[in-house]
């Protein structure tokens, strides 16, 4: 199962890379730089999935109080953080030639940035909370509140600068079918990559816990 997932992810990521570079047509206005948008969308999508997993796992942890839900939430948050960092970097690379700036405080970017900060705080909270049970409980509570907070951040960020223009690029109505295919394959590829990483991270985490338990020390 693990092997199948690994090869499937590998194949899809190679395919996605190939499609992004060769299969998808060059965007007329933005040129080649638009190609980074597929990976940008892929990472932001997978990051969103990751944070939804954190949210759901946190609720389950509070209700069931079993360590596996906490492990799931933590591993997912770590990977989500990585993916979101990639999203911001690829977004910046894309924005510089297209918008003429590395960064702008439009609602989507503001929300993404806050999301990044929230999960950075989540990880800080985990490292500084104290005992294992407390750490798990506190971070679960924070994750739930943060997840509920995000839509409110988005709505209020829209007030700040009025309604910003819809970001163009793939996702609009009249999109080239080849672009759409590339996007879908990339999204699927990144979803699988996330699932794969999550599984591997959990294995490592469980081994770590087992080691701690054997050592009889608090972790």
């Amino acid at each position: 199962m693990r092997k199948i997932l690994f090869f499937l992810t590998f194949a899809l990521m190679v395919l996605a890379t190939w499609m992004t570079l060769f299969y998808a047509p060059t965007e007329i206005v933005m040129g080649h730089v638009q190609r980074i948008f597929y990976f940008h969308m892929g990472t932001v999508w997978a990051a969103t999935v990751a944070f939804t997993v954190v949210f759901v796992a946190s609720i389950y942890y509070l209700v069931k109080e079993t360590a596996k839900w906490d492990t799931l939430a933590y591993c997912s948050a770590e990977i989500g953080m990585l993916l979101l960092t990639l999203t911001i970097i690829t977004g910046s690379i894309w924005a510089k030639p297209v918008w003429g700036t590395w960064w702008t405080w439009d609602p989507q970017l503001t929300t993404t940035f806050i999301l990044w900060v929230l999960y950075a705080v989540y990880l800080v909270l985990r490292s500084g909370a104290g005992g294992r049970g407390k750490k798990a409980r506190y971070s679960a509570i924070f994750a739930i509140i943060a997840y509920v907070d995000l839509p409110v951040v988005y709505v209020s960020a829209r007030i700040k600068r009025g309604i910003s223009p819809v970001v163009f690029g793939p996702g609009g109505g009249g999109i080239d079918p080849a672009m759409m295919h590339t996007l879908l394959v990339t999204l699927l590829g990144f979803t699988l990559l996330f699932v794969l990483l999550l599984g591997e991270r959990r294995r490592i985490m469980n081994m770590e816990n087992a080691l701690y338990a054997r050592g009889g020390r608090g972790g």
Partner: protein
């Protein structure tokens, strides 16, 4: 309801006798206003947006300072642990603490506002302050925004105190979450000072009120899990 009020009354008695939170918060706010004043060097060319930001940053910073203190007072001698032993509902404890914190923070804000007026607004060009036109709506927003950040501040101050980083943790937890309160409160306040009509900021007001309701509800549900002790 009566129990929420009892916690509120007890907190006030304790604060009245120890006089720890209120003076600290007042002096801290005063210093912040002073720092902002010398840093910005506003003359008559006042920017209403910046001035609104100044007052909200002052409120939030000094408010969070006071909240951290409020819960550590409660923790002293473990009296809070005994309260948890009684069969009172946990959301009741949260709402009681929230009420006393909101009132305490609002009171010190009330003392700061005249000074804010004196330092920043009296010499401003193009400002007309009438009771119903500007002052009352302004105070209304102060109340709503304060409820917003104190709701999360109260909740997380009890969490922060139990972490290794203690008081350091509180702003870290609360600041990113209260971004909507900052955006809407500062926005509405500057709109009011600029004399904009109500329709201009009605939507912001809706967002602010929704924030208050959502997080008071969510926090009072989650408070039970927050204070439940796993022992480690």
């Amino acid at each position: 309801m009566r129990k929420i009020f009892l916690i509120f009354r007890k907190d006030f008695l304790v604060e009245w006798r120890s006089k720890q939170i209120f003076p600290t918060m007042f002096v801290f706010s005063l210093l912040l206003l002073l720092i902002f004043n010398v840093a910005f060097e506003f003359r008559s060319d006042i920017n209403f947006r910046a001035v609104s930001a100044v007052i909200w940053i002052t409120f939030i910073f000094s408010g969070l300072l006071a909240l951290g203190r409020s819960f550590s007072l409660e923790k002293e001698n473990n009296a809070f642990a005994f309260l948890l032993l009684t069969p009172v509902s946990r959301s009741c404890i949260y709402l009681g603490k929230l009420l006393s914190n909101v009132v305490m923070v609002l009171l010190s804000e009330l003392f700061i506002l005249p000074l804010f007026l004196l330092f920043f607004l009296l010499n401003a060009k193009g400002i007309s302050l009438s009771l119903t036109g500007e002052i009352l709506p302004f105070l209304g927003v102060v109340v709503l925004g304060t409820i917003g950040f104190v709701s999360l501040g109260t909740f997380f101050s009890s969490m922060a105190l139990n972490t290794k980083l203690r008081d350091m943790m509180l702003p870290l937890l609360v600041f990113p979450l209260i971004i909507p309160v900052v955006i809407t409160s500062v926005g509405i306040c500057s709109s009011i000072l600029e004399g904009k009509p109500f329709g201009y900021y009605a939507f912001s007001l809706q967002v602010l009120v929704s924030f208050d309701i959502i997080f008071i509800l969510l926090c009072s549900i989650l408070f039970e899990y927050l204070i439940e002790d796993s022992g480690d």
